[in-house]
Amino acid sequence: MNARISHVFLAVCGALVALIVMTSYWQVVARGSLEARRANVRLVYRDLEIARGSITSSDGVVLAQSVPGRLDGRSVFVRRYPQDGLAAQLVGYSSLVAGRAGLERSLDPELTGSTSDLAGIGTAFDRLRGDTVHGDDVVLRLVASAQRVAMERLTALGVRGSVIVLDPSTGGLLVMASTPTFNPNDGLDAALSNPESPLLNRATQGLYPPGSTFKVVTAASALDAGAVTPDTSFPGPDCIDSGGERLCNYKSRAYGPHTFAYALVHSINTTFADVGAKTGRDALEATMRGFGFFRRIPFDYPPDQTLPSGIFDRNGNLLPATAPIDVPRLAIGQERLLATPLQMAQVAAAVANGGQLVQPEPVLEVRAPDGSVARRPTTVYLGRAMTTETAATLRALMRQVVDEGTGAAAAVQGLDVAGKTGTAETGRAGHNDAWFIGFAPSNAPRFAFAVLVEDVAGTGGDVAAPIAAEVLRALTSQPT
C-alpha cells in the first residue's frame, strides 16, 4: 500500500505546486496589467491618499476640499463639498463609487498634482517616501454670491432651468446654475434615480428650442450679409404661409408697416421669417457656425458633458448640412433647432464683445501647494461671429428690448441692461421654455448672460428676465 500512498502524495504535491505557480502568475506576471484596470477598486482607494486640491470661487467660497479621514489604518483624504448643491453640476464630484464629473474630472490632473512630467517625478518620490501628495488648488472665476442668487431664484420658482453669466471680453464663467441640483456629499444614488435628472448640467447638456432669442443670430446674419439694414421696412401681417403651414406672430398680432429694428425689439415672427428667407440658408448657417453652433463649445469641462447646438432630426442626431430645412422657421428659432443655454450665452457674449467670440473659461488661476501661481488661463479667441458694426447695431437694438420691448422686466436700477426674450412653445399650451439672453452695461458690457426656465406657463419676458435682473444686481453689488 505504501507505494500507492506515495502516488497520492505526489499528486497532492503536484496540485499544491500548481498553486504556487498560479500565485506567481498573478503576483508577478499579471500584476502590472491588473493594476491599471478601471474596475480595480484599489486604484480608486489609492487616489484617496492624495490631498486633492481645493476648488474655490473668485469671492473666496470653498466649493470642494479634501479633509483628512482614515481608511484601513492609513491616512486618507475625503472629498467634501461645503456648499452642498450650490454649483454641483459645474464643480462635479470625485467619488469612490461614481467616479468623477464636472471640473473635478476636467481639472483632475491639476487637482491631483500630476500635470507636468517634473511634478509627476516629484509625486512619485513623495509616494515612495510615503509623504502625502498635495494637488494644486483651483480658484474659479465663479462669483458664489451671484451663483447663490441664481440657484435660489430658480429653486424658489420650483422650476428646472439654468442661468449662465460670462465675462464677454475674457470668457470668464461668472455664474453657471442648473436646477434641480444635488448634494454631492450625500452620494449619487438618489440623484441618479431622480426623474428630474439633477446630475444633468442643463447649462451645457440641456438642449432647448431657442425661440426668439435666436433672432439675434438671424439679425446678425442678415445685417452682415447686407440683406437688411435697421431701417428696412416690412409689412407686418399677423400670419404668413411658410412651407405649406401658417407661421404667426405671438398671439397672432398684426403690426402694420415697421422697420427691421422695430421687428427685433418687438420680436415679430412674420418679419424675421421674411428676413431669414432674404438672407438665405448658407449665410445663416455660416453665421451660426461663427457663433459656435454645430460643435461642442470648447472649454475646460469634460467633453461628454458638453453638447453641441444645432438642427436635430427626430432621433436627436445633428442634421447634415445637406438636409432640407425650412429656412423662415429656422430664422425665428424653430425648425428642430435646439441650443444649450451656454450656446445662447455665447451668442449674447459675442454681441457684447464687438462680434468677437471667446472661449468660456471657468478657471481664474491654479495655485501650487506652495502658493505660487501654476497656471493663469489667458483669453482664447474663437473667431469673429459678426462685424464690429453689426455688433454695435445689435447692442443698441437689444438695449431697446429692455427699455421699451419684451424684456422690460430685466431692467436693473442703475445698470443699463440689454437683451432678447424668447418663449419657445413646446407644443402643449401653457408649457413653454422661457428664455432671456443679453448683457450689461450695454455700452461697455461686463456681463453676458443666458437664462432658461424649462416648461413654464409664462413668457421669457415674464419668467426669465426678472431672474436675470436679480443675478445682475448681485453681480454689480459685488465689489470687484
Binding site: 500500500m1 503576483q27 508577478v28 477598486v41 484599489r42 481608511l71 469612490l96
Partner: protein, 446 residues
C-alpha cells in the same frame, strides 16, 4: 519514562532530529508562538490608531492553549509525530492574525474557536489514543456522516447560494466539515475489510477486470451521493472534496486506477448534467471562465477584486496589517474575505513569499500525514491517515485553486486559517487523529 524511551528510539538520527519527538515538538511550538507574537505586534504597530484592544492577551491565550495540547501529547502520545502540531500552530496563527487585522471582534470569535478546537484535539487524543477503537465505531461514523449531511440538506440555510450551514442554538454550523472526517473513518474501515475482493476482479469484460457487483455497489452509491450533494447543497467544492477523498482512499486500498478514472469520469458527466439544475454552480462556472466580462456582476465582483488584491501583494507583500483590505466603511473590499478569501488577504500582506510558505506548510502537513500512513502497520491506520492527509491538502487545493482561477470557485474554507468554528474545530480533530495513528505506528516500529 515514556519521553526517555522516545529519546532512545530516535537515537539513530543526528542533530536536532536526535532530540526526543516531544522536545522537538516543543521547540517548534515555541518558534510558532514567537512568529505569532511578532505577527500580532506587527499588526498592532501598523494599526495603533484603530485598535484599542491588547492582542498580547490573545497571543498569551493562544500560547497557553498550544502548550496545554503539547503537555497532553507528552502524556498520551509520547511517540507521535513532532511536526503536525507546530504546523497547525503556524497556520492557525497566520489566519488569526489576518482575521484580527480585518476585525478584532471576528478575531475574538476565532480565538474562542481555536480554544474549543484545541480542547477537541485533547479530547480526541485522549479518547482514541488506541486508534483501533475508532475502527470499531465504523458504522456509527458512517451513519453519523449520512445523518449530518441529510441534516444540512434538510435544515440548511443558504449563504451565498450554497446550502452548507445549519443553525443550532444561535450558532451557524457547517456539518460537512465533520461529516468529512466521519466519512474517512468509515471508508478506511470499510475498504480495509473489502479491499481484497475489490482489488480482485471476478470476471473480464472487454479485457477489463470488473469486481463483483455487490462489492462495487457501495462505490457506485458513493458516486451518486456526491452528485446528490452537489445538487442539494448547490456547492461544487464539498462534493468534489468528498469524492476525491473517497477515490484516493479507494486507490490506496485497491491500487486500481480504473476505479479512479471511471470515478472521475462519472463525476464529470454527472456534474455537467447537474449544472443544468444548480444555478449557483453555473454562476460559479461563469465567474471562473471569464470574470472580466462584467466585473460588477454577482458572478464576478468577488473573484476579480480578490485577484486585484492578490496581484497588489507582489513578491514581498505589504506587510502584516499594512495592506489595503478594508473599504471606507470598514468592511472587507472582497466580500467574505475572512472565510472564503483569507488566502487573498495573506497574498496581499505577505506576498508571494508568504503564500509560498503557507502552501509549503500544507505540503509539509500532507507529507507528515502520508508518512504516518506509510509507517502505520495496519490497513485501517494507513487508509485513515492517507484519507485525512488527502482531506486537508485537497481542501486547501480546491479553495485556493478556486481563488486563483485554476478551478471554479467554491465555498470551502482554508483549513486552520479561515474564520469559522466548524472548520477550525474539525481540522483540529483531523490533526489529533493523525497523531493517534502516528503514536501507534512509531511505538510498534520501535
Amino acid at each position: 519514562m515514556a519521553a526517555a524511551a522516545a529519546g532512545q528510539r530516535v537515537s539513530e538520527s543526528r542533530g536536532l532530529l536526535a532530540l526526543p519527538a516531544r522536545n522537538r515538538e516543543l521547540g517548534l511550538i515555541v518558534l510558532a508562538l514567537a512568529i505569532t507574537t511578532a505577527g500580532f505586534a506587527a499588526v498592532q504597530l501598523a494599526r495603533a490608531q484603530e485598535f484599542a484592544s491588547d492582542p498580547l492577551i490573545a497571543a498569551g491565550l493562544f500560547a497557553a492553549a498550544y502548550l496545554s495540547a503539547h503537555i497532553v501529547m507528552r502524556a498520551a502520545l509520547p511517540d507521535a509525530d513532532a511536526y503536525v502540531l507546530p504546523i497547525t500552530a503556524v497556520l492557525t496563527a497566520i489566519g488569526l492574525i489576518e482575521i484580527y487585522r480585518i476585525s478584532p471582534q471576528l478575531a475574538r470569535d476565532q480565538g474562542v474557536w481555536i480554544l474549543v478546537g484545541l480542547a477537541l484535539f485533547i479530547a480526541v487524543v485522549v479518547a482514541f489514543r488506541n486508534i483501533r477503537r475508532l475502527e470499531e465505531l465504523r458504522y456509527t461514523c458512517g451513519a453519523l456522516a449520512v445523518v449530518l449531511l441529510l441534516l444540512t440538506i434538510g435544515l440548511g440555510t443558504e449563504v451565498n447560494g450554497a446550502r452548507l450551514w445549519i443553525r443550532v442554538a444561535g450558532l451557524q454550523i457547517q456539518p460537512g466539515e465533520f461529516a468529512k472526517i466521519l466519512l474517512v473513518v468509515f471508508l478506511a474501515a470499510y475498504l480495509r475489510e473489502r479491499r481484497e475482493v475489490l482489488a480482485a476482479p471476478v470476471r473480464q469484460v472487454l479485457g477489463i477486470g470488473i469486481p463483483a457487483l455487490r462489492h462495487a455497489l457501495p462505490l457506485l452509491i458513493l458516486s451518486g451521493l456526491a452528485l446528490v450533494l452537489l445538487v442539494a447543497m448547490n456547492d461544487l467544492g464539498t462534493s468534489l472534496l468528498f469524492y476525491v477523498i473517497a477515490l484516493a482512499m479507494i486507490y490506496v486500498a485497491t491500487g486500481r486506477l480504473l476505479y479512479v478514472g471511471a470515478g472521475l469520469g462519472l463525476f464529470a458527466l454527472g456534474a455537467a448534467a447537474a449544472l443544468q439544475v444548480a444555478p449557483q454552480v453555473q454562476g460559479r462556472i461563469d465567474g471562473w471562465l471569464n470574470p472580466w466580462v462584467d466585473e460588477q456582476a454577482q458572478c464576478c465582483y468577488q473573484i476579480t477584486q480578490s485577484i486585484y488584491t492578490i496581484a497588489d501583494g507582489g513578491v514581498l507583500g505589504a506587510g502584516f496589517g499594512r495592506g489595503l483590505i478594508l473599504n471606507s466603511s470598514g468592511d472587507t473590499i472582497i466580500p467574505f474575505a475572512q472565510t472564503d478569501f483569507i488566502f487573498s488577504v495573506i497574498a496581499n500582506e505577505l506576498g508571494l513569499v508568504g503564500v509560498t510558505a503557507v502552501i509549503l506548510l500544507y505540503l509539509l502537513l500532507a507529507w507528515r500525514g502520508f508518512r504516518i500512513a506509510t509507517t502505520a502497520d495496519d490497513g485501517f491506520s494507513k487508509l485513515l491517515a492517507a484519507g485525512l492527509a488527502t482531506a486537508v491538502a485537497f481542501q486547501a487545493f480546491v479553495i485556493v485553486g478556486g481563488i486563483l482561477r485554476l478551478l471554479p470557485l467554491t465555498g470551502l474554507t482554508l483549513p486552520f486559517v479561515s474564520y469559522g468554528g466548524s472548520s477550525v474545530t474539525a481540522n483540529f480533530a483531523i490533526a489529533a487523529l493523525l497523531l493517534c495513528v502516528s503514536q501507534r505506528a512509531n511505538r510498534e516500529r520501535a
